[in-house]
Subunit: 333 residues, 2 copies
Amino acid sequence: MTTTRRSVLAAGPALAAAAAIGSPAFAQTQSAAGQGTAGQSAASGGQAPGFYRYKVGDMTVTAVNDGFASRPTEGFVRNAELPQVQQALREAFLPTNQFPIPYNTLVIENGGRVTLIDTGNGDSGAPTTGHWMRNFRAAGFDPARVDAVIISHFHGDHINGLRLKDGTAVFPNAEVMVPSAEWAFWMDDARMNQAPEAMRGGFQTARRVFGPIAKDVKQYEHGKEIAPGITSVAATGHTPGHTAFMVSSGNGKLMVMSDITNHPALFVRNPDWSAVFDMDADQARATRHRMLDMVAAERAQVAFYHAPFPATGFIAKEGNGYRMVPVQWTPAL
Amino acid sequence: MTTTRRSVLAAGPALAAAAAIGSPAFAQTQSAAGQGTAGQSAASGGQAPGFYRYKVGDMTVTAVNDGFASRPTEGFVRNAELPQVQQALREAFLPTNQFPIPYNTLVIENGGRVTLIDTGNGDSGAPTTGHWMRNFRAAGFDPARVDAVIISHFHGDHINGLRLKDGTAVFPNAEVMVPSAEWAFWMDDARMNQAPEAMRGGFQTARRVFGPIAKDVKQYEHGKEIAPGITSVAATGHTPGHTAFMVSSGNGKLMVMSDITNHPALFVRNPDWSAVFDMDADQARATRHRMLDMVAAERAQVAFYHAPFPATGFIAKEGNGYRMVPVQWTPAL
């Protein structure tokens, strides 16, 4: 700490404060976010409910947070050295040994119809997840009045919210819409039986969630308007049928990026990096570059499932990568 | 729009979507935030309450939002050309002709004591302000149980929340603490009488708010621990007694930057720029550089009154200026 910086706190009485600022303890990162101390709360109450509304043309979109999972940094990026990944986390002021990956779904209100895109972890996720239903209800919604649930892909953190562990259907009156390529892959018994042991869980999760409603699930193709104003966009690589969505109403547009990147601090900044979750890393990387390039050039508003809540913003080109610029929070719709 | 970008939406059925993305309407900025359409809400309800809690050691800090004011860009920065300022707004994906300036106060809970730093606009601000009390109550607080109100400086958007237009004291049981240099300047009748007409309002606001409690107001000096864990830090220039605060508890530290900058997208990025509100532009610029340099070097968590809600994050050095990195929202305290 230089004298110049120290001097800002003035001489004399403030030197104690200056000394405290100079101590290592002042070099903070957001360690609390990575430690899951969800039980603590202020005398006045807990955190504000995790929902955020914004308009897309005449539609109202609500981001609903399902908490986060703390993930060890080591081994998370297939093709980068640990110190590089830790440096990226440090630049985002996140903890570097493990870091919090957020989960955020979308609710779209359009002409009285309530449509979800993905569902969160339900009661099957990490202890720091499972906030979804409380936040959804705090936003004024009722799961029995959801008209449609659109699934981007079959990873558990996107589909487990459809069905509780005890078998309960969470949205009993909703049409469930899934990518046909995703269904073909994950519901193929022969493929499951040939899969390595580490991949079996994914096949079993798909059967647990969709099995009881298999005959009613509506499969959709890429490149179609699958609900009013919602067009499915092929974004394969992360999974065989992974889907992005263009949400459009009047002059309003939102590109729902799903899992085209995991945490933006890592993979928007470094689009060549591959998270361990990308099933076809090369295809996922090509998809990531194309989509980020498009939304950056068009200055399109975007939503990412694994961005920090409220998980919507814009993408700016920067160096060899991009930067996510969050929306400015507003009380106004 | 290049073929490469267009091709991400695949050929055939998705071409309609691709064409829509290519339209000018897809080049969005956050225009809604600047237009104050606060009356619109979704069928399911309005925006989530504007409070956000975080821990600083054993203390609980709650950011409370008071809305925003939409400000014409022209004439706002004294020493930059309009196109430069508009470019900075564009890089933040904000509207460029007028832009929303947020207001965010802090509530500090420490050992059962409730202390405010600044109070918002009360019922004296723009129609897009005045959200403070609703958000404060939504966070579980009661204005009658506020123990102390610490004022950073006497601009109306920081003090009008102390007293309604009809004269009501909003925090009837709170000790009110103000910077002595601020009191000496704004409560000086001779200075008011000599002031140019455009400055009279500021003197009158100070009298309206503090006049009825003048004998009870506690004046504090810079460089003192003025409440447990809260140290006043000289940050003059914006006003003659403008004050920052170091909030400290155990290993936790927070530097409350008050109005050392106005909107970070302009003045954290460009610390040499002077907003029209800075009364001594040179002194304010020197303070801004010193404080930003310090918190960047120390990776200190900061809070800014005019940053986008939740108005807390970190400062990274970038080029000739800095960048504010917001905290990652977390449901956990």
